[in-house]
């Protein structure tokens, strides 16, 4: 093993993530090579200092007793339920609102725009807890028809075609939609939900952004399985984000994706 390889493997070595033969090779090299051994000693010392200075806080006195106490009494409303309720409330509000608005379909875009500009802030907060002034929220507006009033509305309003997929065959209903600017690119982000509360989020982004390393750091897409579907004949990729690998697999199977 050369110095370059040993250094390259040093983090993995120290994290205990190498296979037994690889581990032996690094050990062997460190025994033979003074500069690499120096690097190793430095890194080891640095980790020890960090652990000592940053990673050694203790739980406050009495926390254990407090927790045990919480088990036997305290009706704590789980945050998740609270959040779900706020999302559900926002969704219900919009469904009611849209039902009212869409009774006169011809005026929809204008009516929608005026409702949106007064109400979208509250929805955003219920939706993902973040405030963005460049964000539009809608519910139940996914459509497969490019000429639909909703699509036209988005094209006019934000100069961007919405990402619309019918996921009804998987039991999902459209829940909401946001358009926001990400690295200078408008991203239209749609969330679908099934009766069990699973969500699929999907957005249309340029293929360049989609191919950036790492997962998409989007409001509803953090740390979940992602499936990317390039849109034929365009520079766009649709990015689907799932609650679980099971949901992702179900989607892949239903869409004949690998």
């Amino acid at each position: 093993m050369k110095c370059h390889d040993a250094n390259h493997h040093l983090d993995l070595f120290m994290d205990g993530e190498l296979s037994v033969p690889e581990n032996l090779k690094v050990l062997e090299h460190l025994n033979l090579c003074r500069p690499c051994a120096g690097l190793y000693e430095g890194e080891k010392a640095l980790r020890a200092v960090l652990r000592d200075r940053v990673g050694s806080d203790k739980a406050p006195e009495g926390l254990a007793e407090k927790l045990t106490g919480a088990l036997s009494g305290a009706a704590v409303t789980p945050f998740a339920r609270r959040r779900l309720m706020s999302v559900a409330a926002a969704a219900a509000f919009f469904i009611v609102m849209l039902t009212l608005v869409f009774t006169s379909t011809k005026e929809m875009p204008q009516a929608l725009a005026s409702e949106l500009s007064t109400k979208h802030q509250a929805t955003q907060q219920g939706f993902c807890g973040m405030h963005r002034d460049d964000c539009l929220c809608l519910c139940d507006r996914c459509s497969l028809e490019p000429q639909s009033a909703e699509s036209k509305f988005f094209t006019e309003r934000v100069g961007h075609v919405s990402c619309s997929h019918n996921l009804g065959d998987l039991g999902y209903k459209p829940m909401g939609l946001q358009v926001f600017d990400h690295l200078g690119q408008p991203i239209c982000w749609t969330v679908n939900r099934d009766d069990a509360g699973h969500t699929i989020s999907h957005g249309l982004v340029t293929t360049k952004i989609a191919k950036q390393p790492g997962p998409l750091y989007l409001c509803d897409g953090v740390d979940r399985p992602v499936v990317m579907v390039p849109v034929a004949g365009t520079d766009k990729t649709c990015v689907f984000v799932f609650d679980s690998e099971t949901e992702a697999q179900r989607f892949r199977a239903a869409r004949n994706l690998k």
Partner: protein, 184 residues
């Protein structure tokens, strides 16, 4: 189902770990206690899903990270959006290394520099760094806890370490004792 007392006893040895992770992620003691309590209650209610013989600490951290990502983080005002631009490109970036002597000098003058450098990392990177470096979780355990691929765990971890090394090297240079040793 375990009794409440048995469950509490089982959690006790991991309480410091859970609390300090929660503290570094939320940034304040009260929020950290809330997060630990939420984790504790969720773990108790969901204990039937724990596979006997598997790693209990890793299981607790899975619940903690879920609670943090899904609930705490989204309720807080700060956006969970990290621009791609914030993510540093691979390669061609300085990766300084400390000698053991440098680290000794660093330790003498460090103050809360390291804490602040860690707190400045994007939460996703900070979490992976803490779980690996302080809590000795394997990449596989972290991958399971965060529901992200191992490759993602590794890239976050290595980026976090590179950023911390750089920030500490900057500090050491200001203090005037860092011997340049740039390689890899």
């Amino acid at each position: 189902m375990e009794t409440q007392e048995e469950f509490s006893e089982r959690v006790k040895p991991h309480l410091d770990s859970l609390y300090r992770t929660a503290l570094r992620m939320t940034g304040e003691a009260a929020a950290a206690e809330d997060l630990v309590q939420e984790t504790f209650l969720k773990a108790y209610r969901g204990f039937s899903q724990f596979e006997p013989g598997s790693n209990f600490k890793a299981w607790m951290f899975t619940i903690l990270t879920h609670a943090y990502i899904n609930d705490y983080r989204k309720r807080s005002r700060s956006p969970l959006v990290t621009d791609f631009a914030e993510i540093e490109p691979e390669g061609d970036v300085e990766t300084p290394h400390f000698s053991a002597e440098d680290v000794e000098k660093l330790a003498d003058r460090l103050g809360d520099q390291a804490k602040r450098a860690l707190d400045r990392l994007p939460p996703e990177h900070r979490l992976v760094f803490i779980l690996s470096t302080f809590e000795d979780m394997s990449y596989k355990e972290i991958s399971a806890a965060l529901a992200v691929p191992i490759g993602t765990v590794m890239s976050r971890l290595f980026r976090a370490r590179a950023v911390l090394r750089r920030e500490l090297a900057d500090f050491a240079r200001q203090e005037g004792f860092f011997q340049e040793k740039v390689d890899r």
